[in-house]
């Protein structure tokens, strides 16, 4: 089943319609863990974009040579290698960000978004389209977690990208913690789902 959509359509699908964070619920672990600061969310997003685009591209390239029986192990090897390269580069050139992301940087390997896109898209589409999908999904993921992070950082720590916006007395420090991550995520998902339902109803009425 080849994807007939254009490059631009594929790209925007990942960002909006099939947003990995709020629609597909992929990669929940880093979504909850690294969203206490916008800076970390952007860093994690950038890492995911890099791995996702590269893995989609490589897997698309080799899709016709890989025997079906071993495709998953091979995808994992490719993704793991990319994450290792990413981790070494980040440690070398962005040590502070690497330290802030901690284990979650390594855990990009098992971020189901990446393997999910490899299996669902790259394995069946051309390299160019796979890149479009990787970029779209990666940016969608980045926007999703950054969106959560904005709420958590501003309300929880009173800062945005390190600048103070809310005095300490008025902060909801619970939002900075793990429980806050679930709360913010839940509320935002509810809003997004509501919007989607309204849109779906409109489409039904129009149809």
């Amino acid at each position: 089943m080849k994807n007939k959509k254009s490059f631009g359509e594929i790209f925007t699908t990942g960002i909006l319609k099939q947003n990995p964070t709020f629609v597909q619920f992929l990669g929940m672990c880093p979504t909850l863990a690294v969203t206490s600061k916008v800076e970390n969310a952007l860093g994690m997003g950038a890492g995911v974009i890099f791995v996702l685009v590269m893995s989609n591209f490589i897997i698309s390239l080799i899709r016709n040579f890989v025997p079906d029986e071993v495709r998953i192990p091979i995808y994992i090897v490719v993704i793991a290698s990319l994450v290792t390269i990413l981790e070494m580069s980040m440690n070398a050139f962005m040590p502070d960000l690497a330290a802030a992301l901690g284990t979650f940087l390594k855990l990009i390997v098992v971020n189901c978004l990446i393997l999910g896109r490899a299996e669902a898209f790259a394995a069946k589409n051309s390299p160019v389209k796979s890149i479009a999908d990787g970029l779209g999904m990666g940016i969608g993921f980045t926007l999703g977690i950054s969106f959560i992070a904005v709420f958590r950082e501003v309300l929880g720590s009173g800062t945005i990208l390190g600048f103070e916006v809310i005095p300490a007395d008025f902060q909801l420090s619970i939002l900075g913690g793990p429980a806050g991550a679930f709360l913010v995520f839940g509320i935002l998902v509810a809003q997004v789902t509501k919007l989607r339902m309204i849109k779906a109803k409109k489409a039904e009425v129009n149809a």
Partner: protein
């Protein structure tokens, strides 16, 4: 065929991935390792900012209790020096520092890593930027001999002493282990004594003659030198008790040498004085007479008044002992007696004055006793003129006499008053502000520094004041206390600790917060209000208001106040007729 394809495709992917990782790993790992090294050795870089590498070599050198780690320093391929991480005790244990030594044998730098010194004193000294600046560029030998100084405004001698000791120790270790210097084996106690003996009286043999002479309070051992002289091993009490020194005195009464054998004086203060080489060297050539009369001075860079005073007292006592017991010099000088300008005319029926207090006696040697016949001669109830004879006798039996005429008259007597000094008046005025006059009764003894009275407009005594000091029994000596009595009932009205040097005494301590520093708390003074009997106030009473136990400070305070209660009750100064 299928299997071959599966295996070969897996292999190809794995190999390509390995190669890719390998290519990235090379350049990134270099950057990562460099950064990790810089983070781990951030402090070391402060000593050697241009270093390119530090290698820990602690295991390759002998263990040392003061040295925690040793690093060699490289700039490029050249080794430029060594950095030591050391630990010493300042005022408190745990002063950790880095000390660098260059291959040119200069101190490269010094940095304090951790310490628990007192904030405001030791901590401020060693963390002061000027302090660390004293190190860099100083030749190792100079640093090993001289050490560093306090910075302006600091008095943290104890901390300084500790740091200097640690730094010198590390530098000595460096000399031995990196420069091939011969380790100086510390002299044993016996070796030191043998060396001193041969220095004090070269070529002599020595005989222990301690038992041939009377036992002295402070003399532990007397050795007689075969070529004319004696070596005394003697005790002194400075700020602390029981320091020991050895001194050689020739039969001509000239000191041949001095050495402090052991001391418990405070490190960096008293210890620094008595262990100072220049200080110990000044004894040689001075006379026993000088030891007795003036003693010795401190030397530049030391200041330890309590220690010096204690040592001089011991030297003076030793000099007297030497003159009298060893040389057999007979004391033929009689004591001197002087009359104090006091009231000698009394109304019939008055309380007898303190007869002892009319004269002061001094002697060239210690041990003068003053006697008088006043009780036998004077009858306070019968008018007349009485002549009292005072006799001062020293331990050798020399004596001096003088007489004072006392007049007991029927009519009113003009009262002669000796005004108190301005300093004393300032204190008395706070305690008895309503008095119209304060006078000095010119009475003192070894504990009472003075007795003063306050009087009303008719010159009647309203209060009696005893000026006393706690002796060394107070953890800090010379706390000054004014005790006020109501003479009509001989009970204490007020206790005023007007100078308190008690432990940790600072302005920031509120009463009830610590130990001896509570000494001048009004709460503690209040314990004595209305007290009229010796033993009425106990340690427990003072502890309970203070909330602490100051096991030396409070007992010495109780002791001196009990002494003055007894004195007042016995002598009834200003007392009811």
């Amino acid at each position: 065929m299928k299997h071959v394809k599966i295996i070969s495709s897996l292999l190809v992917v794995v190999v390509i991935c390995m190669v890719a990782i390998f290519l990235i790993e090379g350049p990134t790992s270099k950057i990562i390792n460099e950064r990790l090294m810089q983070e781990a050795n951030a402090a070391l870089f402060e000593i050697y900012p241009d270093a390119t590498g530090f290698e820990e070599v602690t295991e390759e050198y002998p263990t040392d209790e003061a040295i925690l780690n040793i690093f060699t320093v490289k700039e490029g391929e050249t080794q430029v020096g060594v950095v030591y991480k050391g630990e010493v005790a300042g005022y408190n244990p745990g002063v950790q520092f880095l000390l660098g030594v260059t291959t040119d044998d200069e101190v490269a730098g010094f940095k304090i890593l951790a310490n628990s010194e007192t904030a405001g004193i030791g901590k401020d000294l060693i963390e002061h930027p000027d302090f660390a600046e004293q190190f860099a560029g100083v030749p190792r030998e100079t640093m090993q001999d001289v050490g560093v100084d306090l910075v302006a405004g600091s008095t943290a001698n104890v901390t300084l002493g500790g740091v200097n000791k640690g730094v010198k120790h590390v530098l000595t270790y460096h000399g031995v282990n990196f420069k091939g210097e011969v380790a100086v084996v510390p002299e044993t106690e016996e070796e030191k004594i043998e060396r001193l003996k041969s220095e004090f009286f070269p070529g002599s043999t020595f005989t222990d003659v301690t038992g041939d002479y009377p036992e002295g309070d402070i003399i532990l051992e007397i050795l007689e030198a075969s070529n004319g002289g004696y070596i005394f091993t003697t005790l002194f009490n400075g700020y602390s008790l029981d320091s020991v020194y050895m001194i050689g005195i020739g039969t001509d009464g000239v000191v041949t040498g001095y050495s402090t054998l052991s001391t418990k004086e405070t490190a960096g203060i008293g210890e620094a004085l008595v262990m100072n080489e220049e200080f110990q060297a000044q004894f040689a050539g001075i006379s026993v007479e000088q030891l007795k009369e003036t003693g010795v001075d401190s030397v530049a860079g030391t200041s330890a008044p309590f220690t010096l005073e204690g040592l001089n007292e011991s030297l003076s006592e030793l000099a007297s002992y030497f003159n009298k017991e060893v040389l057999g010099v007979q004391d033929t000088v009689a004591p001197e007696l002087a009359i104090l300008p006091k009231q000698t005319e009394f109304e019939v029926g008055s309380t007898a004055p303190v007869w002892d207090s009319y004269v002061t006696a001094t002697d060239n040697e210690d041990g003068v006793v003053v006697t008088h016949d006043a009780e036998a001669v004077v009858d306070m109830n019968v008018a007349g003129t009485y002549t009292v004879m005072y006799t001062a006798t020293d331990t050798a039996g020399n004596y001096t006499t003088l007489t004072i005429e006392f007049v007991i008259s029927e009519g009113a007597v003009e009262i002669v008053l000796v005004p108190v000094s301005d300093e004393v008046e300032a204190i008395l005025a706070t305690m008895d502000p309503e008095a119209s006059e304060y006078s000095d009764e010119l009475i003192s003894d070894e504990i009472i520094k003075g007795i003063y009275t306050s009087r009303d407009a008719d010159k009647n005594i309203t209060s009696v004041f005893y000026d006393v000091e706690t002796e060394n029994g107070g953890y800090a000596s010379n706390n000054k206390i004014m005790v006020q009595f109501d003479p009509s009932i001989n009970s204490i009205t007020k206790v005023n600790v007007y100078v308190s040097k008690a432990t940790y005494k600072t302005d920031s301590y509120a009463p009830n917060s610590g130990k001896g520093e509570d000494l001048d708390s009004p709460l503690i003074a209040a314990v004595w209000e209305g007290v009229a009997q010796v033993g009425q106030v106990t340690e427990a009473d003072v502890d309970s208001v203070s909330g602490t136990t100051a096991v030396e400070t409070f007992p010495s305070l109780i002791e001196v106040i009990d002494y003055v209660i007894n004195y007042q009750v016995t002598n009834q100064i200003g007392g009811a007729e």
